[in-house]
Symmetry: C2
Subunit: 322 residues, 2 copies
């Protein structure tokens, strides 16, 4: 009988249970969605090291920055400089957020090959976040997606407020599906369904994904983006995985939040997701210790601890190497 | 179009999805499992108010205290005084933990009608926690359960380290089932399967519950007790609910931890569980705002914030009434 009392990372062999995808692609949003919500702007050198560490930890999709106007998101005003200095790794994608035509110009000049647009599933949030209604948001995004595709770029469509909206309350599933289909019809290869304020629960997640499937949008083209405001992010992720979703957005250390929802805490922490996938025997390619070390290192730069449970649990050991 | 920007509790109508129990009984362990892990002993008046507020919030099973020797758990040394002063509500059960024969004597003298014994699924933890091996733990508990039942008491059996053990690593499912059956054969009406260090993931949960079912232990007699060390508690709970489990242990505000696992954080927060159940349309009888108000109030007494995401999100409003 072993008697090591590590009190520490005990990894249990996978126990699969109900059907799941063989592999999950983690779309790491920490450098964009995480850092854009930080009260202070993070130094460019720190951002570059953060992206480099994430790639070393095995993440293969790193949303790097955003070309939103610096007036709105000063935290990411260094987008051009970041992309110029970024040491791109083979096999790693570095998509950037593009809010409008001016953003697309900047992205094309910077030589990116993968972008994301950010649409709303509700009229209220479209007006708050984009300063235009839903019909107008499509009119704005259509030429962007069309031009980007003509230039050979892959375009992801974020759809925010897919479950609840703080101004409108619960969002009808049909409305979400209609908005998602508009993005697909424009040419977005993937939809990221966002629970922007974190109010969703697993049955609701199953209903929305099922409605997309019924409407002819294949589950392979769906990603999920959960916030942990009410502690539901990982349970919702499990529900999505059981539906066959195989792309999950997450943020190293649980960085980020929603500036438009007072109570919205961070994104699903990548580390907590990796713990889940390891336990379920789902391949993902990430070295958990290296990732935790990265989040502990970044937390030191930001001056406050990570909200991720897994980072908290493993951080003491992992940080010693970081 | 409504335009209230509450940034606050938006409750979404239930979306059930896959099959679930109609009702979940929440076994609230905050006053025992939570407070026994607090560094400082909480005043008896605060404990009594805590229990009273939990009952007012609609919780119907409140594990009130423990008759463990005060040398080991000084935080609960006031068990007799607490039970003497406790204002028992009609329809509310107040089980207490009983570690040994002396504890049973004290419980009987105090007039309790429901107890729980705390066994281990591993040899190492039995020796650490009970100072005896697994065979000896059964020998110790058998006369306690027998006498308690003869006195008309209901006896629950906690089984700890059902998934991983910090000294032994992953715990074989067969070993867990064998230990659980021993407790059932003794006369425990319910088994609470504990992930004491918080390492379980949902497929593992399904495997353990399925193995009990195969071994003839009905799922109706199974409860689950998850810790959120790696952020998995609510996802594991969802997996258990999908298996048909309808009793879930939780701790108001996520109070508690495991003193034998350095990295083990608190129990599943009752508030996060209630948010899940509300979203799934599963009945539970708890008033979430009253419960959040209780956790905010207790956090003030303990001098630190609740780790529950839901308490953090709703706490500002709820506390104004508390």
């Amino acid at each position: 009988m072993a008697t090591r009392d590590t009190g520490l990372p005990m990894r249990i062999p996978p126990q699969e249970g109900a059907p799941l995808p063989d592999r999950v692609d983690i779309w790491e949003v920490g450098a964009r969605d995480g850092l854009q919500n930080e009260p202070a702007t993070v130094d460019l050198d720190v951002k570059l090291e953060f992206l480099d560490r994430l790639a070393s930890a095995g993440l293969r999709t790193l949303e790097a920055t955003s070309f939103v106007h610096p007036k709105w998101v000063p935290q990411l005003a260094d987008a051009e400089a970041l992309l110029e200095r970024l040491d791109r790794r083979a096999g790693v994608r570095y998509p950037v957020l593009v809010p409008n035509e001016r953003g697309l110009e900047r992205a094309l000049t910077a030589g990116v090959d993968s972008i994301a647009v950010f649409a709303s599933a509700t009229e209220s949030f479209a007006r708050r976040n984009l300063n235009r209604g839903m019909a107008e948001q499509y009119a704005m995004f259509e030429p962007i997606v069309s031009r980007a595709r003509a230039e050979g770029l892959a375009v992801r469509g974020y759809l925010s407020m897919c479950f609840g909206d703080p101004w409108e309350g619960p969002v009808p599933v049909d409305q979400v599906v209609a908005a998602g289909r508009r993005l697909r019809d424009m040419g977005c290869w993937q939809l990221s369904l966002g629970d922007t304020v974190g109010v969703a629960t697993p049955g609701h997640v199953e209903a929305v994904i099922g409605a997309f499937e019924t409407a002819g949008v294949p589950t392979e083209s769906i990603a999920v983006h959960f916030h942990d405001t009410y502690g539901q992010a990982l349970a919702n992720t499990l529900a999505a995985l059981r539906c066959g979703v195989s792309t999950v957005d997450a943020s190293a250390g649980g960085l980020g939040g929603c500036p438009y929802a007072k109570s919205a805490t961070g994104n699903l922490a990548t580390e907590d997701l990796v713990w889940l996938l390891d336990g379920l025997g789902v391949d993902h390619g990430v070295d958990l210790d290296a990732l935790v070390g990265t989040s502990v290192w970044l937390a030191g730069r930001l001056g406050r601890p990570s909200p991720s449970r897994t980072v908290t649990a493993l951080g003491t050991t992992a940080s010693s190497g970081g």
